[in-house]
Amino acid sequence: MRILVTGGSHVVALNQGFKQLRDAGKVPASLEFILRPLGGGLSVARDFYSPRDDHVEITNPKYWAKFRQIPPPGETYGMVAVSTALYSRPVWNKSDWGVYGIPGFAKDRIPISEGLLRRAIYDDNKHIIGFLAHLRTLGMKVCIVEGPRPFRHNIEVKRNGPDLVKHIDALYRSLTLEVLSREQIPVVLVPDTAFDTDGFMLEKYRHKNPDDKTHGSSEFGLLMMERVLQFVQKNTDRPG
């Protein structure tokens, strides 16, 4: 079976993890993994595709170097795994969290409703979920591969406050998992062993570049690709 692993820049860590698995001989010959990103992370939070009868047309020119359509003409995928949709940073990292506050975090801030935060969350991942839902209707198996959750060292966490970040991340996760469940899109989750007691990602999974606030390390990639491989092996015989 051919498995496409795509998404934003978190595919980098997954690719590094995959290479380790492959070099260790852990990838069965029956499974052909293609790791190819669409493009830079934020763009998948905007409208980037158009559904067609037998494929998804990619409409964002930024992605055309990698894909014009999925699946590409003449190719098929048994499964498409996308490395985004559970990545909450685009919502909690914004500077306006110093100005606006949801209930519980509104002291000396402009009060906003929790409903507004929920909308911000839905807006952030609606396109990628719609993309996967359409691929499902074309008969492909799909899944989400969870991206790295907040790192304690992230300067944005310090700026906006770790409690607020954890609150938003938790809400983001629970709402998105609800939607994914409704759309029957399974998720390969980051295991609980990857977090510290406060709920932040362990340092070893942090990108080696100290200035990188966003990406996981190759260890993180290996951790997740092991789980993706398990998931694929469990689901190869099940219908999409």
Binding site: G39, N93, D96, V99, Y100, L116, D123
Partner: protein
């Protein structure tokens, strides 16, 4: 380059183009002449080019040429004239008068007289500034030199009637005005006559709907009103006016969701304000003068703000969210009124629902978007002319106490009622509402020099327009209609040339980081 005089025939060519009003050709020829020839008489060429730019409303380019011309020849009469025309076009009447008076003085020194258009323009500028006696003197002086000139006669008549309406004893000026007209309907502006405004034209060619009472250049503008008001706010923003937004959206909410949460529609998150009573109530609350009792309505599994029930698409989970949000919102409203130079209000309805306990009015009937209708607690009210007038005058009094220099433009929404509770045909009820509102707006304009009226209602709804600007539902206004209305507005209130710089696309530096990460791993695309 050798300095050579510009030949007469080239200057004549420019003048001919000016008389034929062929502005683009004039600009082209003028620039060609300047490029080829030297500096002698170039001031005149620059002045001609400036005139053309003024006519095509490219004011900054006009000014550039006048600056060059003035450096070449600072007292050139043509340059001073054009400066006057530029300032007049920009609504800077005092500056226009200053320049034109210099022209008149310069001509007097040469023992010649000013031409008729100079008298006419000077009189208009003085009239616009409210200097009616000076305007009258200028117009009379011009008329004495050019007794057959109809435009001067009309201008004089107009000024005279303005003076007459200000004083009971019209005196010498009134007599003089009347002596130039055999009856009061003679010599008026063409807009006053049906057979000049409507009969000979396609209705889309009617272009003298509105004459501004004051300039809005450089003013900070806020707006509110019924649903039609959204178009006005948007058009002002898009055309570069300084539009007040007292409650901007947070940057973690996507732009496509802003309107759903009441952001970016009006100058604050008040939602639609349909009636005079609702507007007054909003101001009174923001000033801390009243505190309505019934502010939170249950809806589905949550709660809504009774005075802004549709400001968010989903009910609030907790009632305290509403109280906190209202407090901030009212502070923002007060700031909005205090910091604006101009407030544009679109009047929509006279029908409203009122709390029997404290007189609070609601934008939506209880039960429609939250709450429940209980005839023991709420009653229907169809505001009358005296009531709407009283509300608006109280609003004006309070808002001018807060901001003594605030100007106001009223307009009446052409959108009829969706439904009436007045036990009448909805078309008939609409006619009542709009008539009352239109009458109040007209009265307020005539009473206060800082209040103007813009005729959106007439431009869309008058029978001469044949209903073409309504959508098939016969109620909502089409985008073409909105565009036509705003075109009339901007023909008088010419948008700033250099509006706010278009904000660059919101490029997140993380996009750059992500792209670099991909490049490092997967190589160039």
């Amino acid at each position: 380059m050798a300095v050579t005089a510009l030949p007469d025939k080239e200057i004549d060519q420019l003048r001919k183009l000016r008389k034929k009003r062929m502005w683009r050709q004039l600009i082209e020829l003028g620039n060609r002449i300047l490029a080829q020839s030297g500096q002698i008489r170039a001031a005149g060429v620059h002045a001609e080019i400036a005139k053309a730019y003024i006519e095509v409303r490219q004011y900054e380019l006009a000014r550039k040429h006048l600056v060059v011309a003035q450096k070449l020849k600072s007292k050139n009469i043509a340059v001073l004239r054009r400066y006057g025309e530029l300032e007049f076009a920009l609504g800077n009447y005092e500056a226009a008068i200053k320049h034109w008076k210099k022209v008149v003085k310069a001509k007097e020194k040469k023992a010649s007289r000013a031409d008729r258009s100079l008298y006419l323009n000077l009189a208009k500028a003085q009239r616009n500034l409210g200097q009616l006696k000076a305007a009258s003197r200028t117009a009379r002086c011009g008329f004495s030199h050019f007794p057959k000139n109809l435009k001067l006669a009309r201008e004089l008549a107009r000024i005279s009637s303005m003076i007459s309406s200000q004083t009971e004893n019209s005196g010498e000026v009134g007599d003089t005005a009347i002596s130039y007209r055999t009856h009061p309907y003679r010599g008026l502006d063409s807009a006053a006559y049906w057979n000049q405004t409507v009969s000979p034209k396609n209705c889309l060619e009617i272009n003298n709907w509105y004459r501004k009472k004051f300039s809005i250049n450089g003013l900070s503008i806020s707006s509110a009103g019924s649903c039609f008001a959204q178009h006005i706010g948007r058009a002002l923003r898009e055309n570069g006016y300084e539009y007040v937004d007292a409650e901007p959206a947070p940057n973690f909410l996507r732009p496509e969701s802003h309107h759903d949460y009441g952001y970016g529609i009006y100058s604050a998150r008040f939602g639609n304000i349909y009636t005079s009573r609702q507007l007054l109530q909003l101001l009174q609350q923001s000033l801390g003068l009243i505190e309505p009792e019934d502010l939170i309505w249950p809806k589905d599994d949550g709660y809504v703000d009774a005075l802004r029930p549709t400001i968010e698409p989903e009910p609030h989970i907790r009632p305290e969210e509403i109280a906190n949000s209202r407090k901030y919102h009212l502070d923002a409203v007060k700031r909005m009124f205090k910091n604006s130079n101009l407030f544009i209000f679109t009047m929509g309805l006279t029908e409203t629902w009122v709390s029997k306990s404290d007189g609070t009015v609601y934008p939506v009937a209880p039960g429609v978007s939250g709450g429940a209708y209980d005839p023991k607690r709420y009653s229907f009210k169809n505001l009358t002319y005296p009531e709407v007038l009283e509300d608006m005058e109280e609003f004006i009094r309070l808002v001018r106490q807060l901001n003594p220099t605030l100007k106001i433009i009223f307009t009446v929404s052409p959108v009829p009622l969706m439904a009436t509770a007045a036990a009448d045909n909805v078309i008939v009820s609409s006619s009542y509402s709009k008539s009352v509102l239109r009458s109040v707006a007209g009265y307020l304009k005539s009473e206060y020099d800082f209040i103007d009226y813009f005729p959106s209602f007439e431009i869309v709804g008058s029978h001469v327009m044949r209903g073409q600007f309504f959508n098939p539902d016969g109620r909502t206004v089409s985008p073409y209609g909105v565009s036509h209305v705003m075109k009339q507005f901007f023909s008088e209130h010419v948008p700033p040339i250099f509006g706010k710089d278009k904000q660059p696309d919101n490029i997140d530096p993380d996009d750059v980081v992500c792209d670099e990460e991909l490049l490092n791993e997967f190589g160039p695309s």
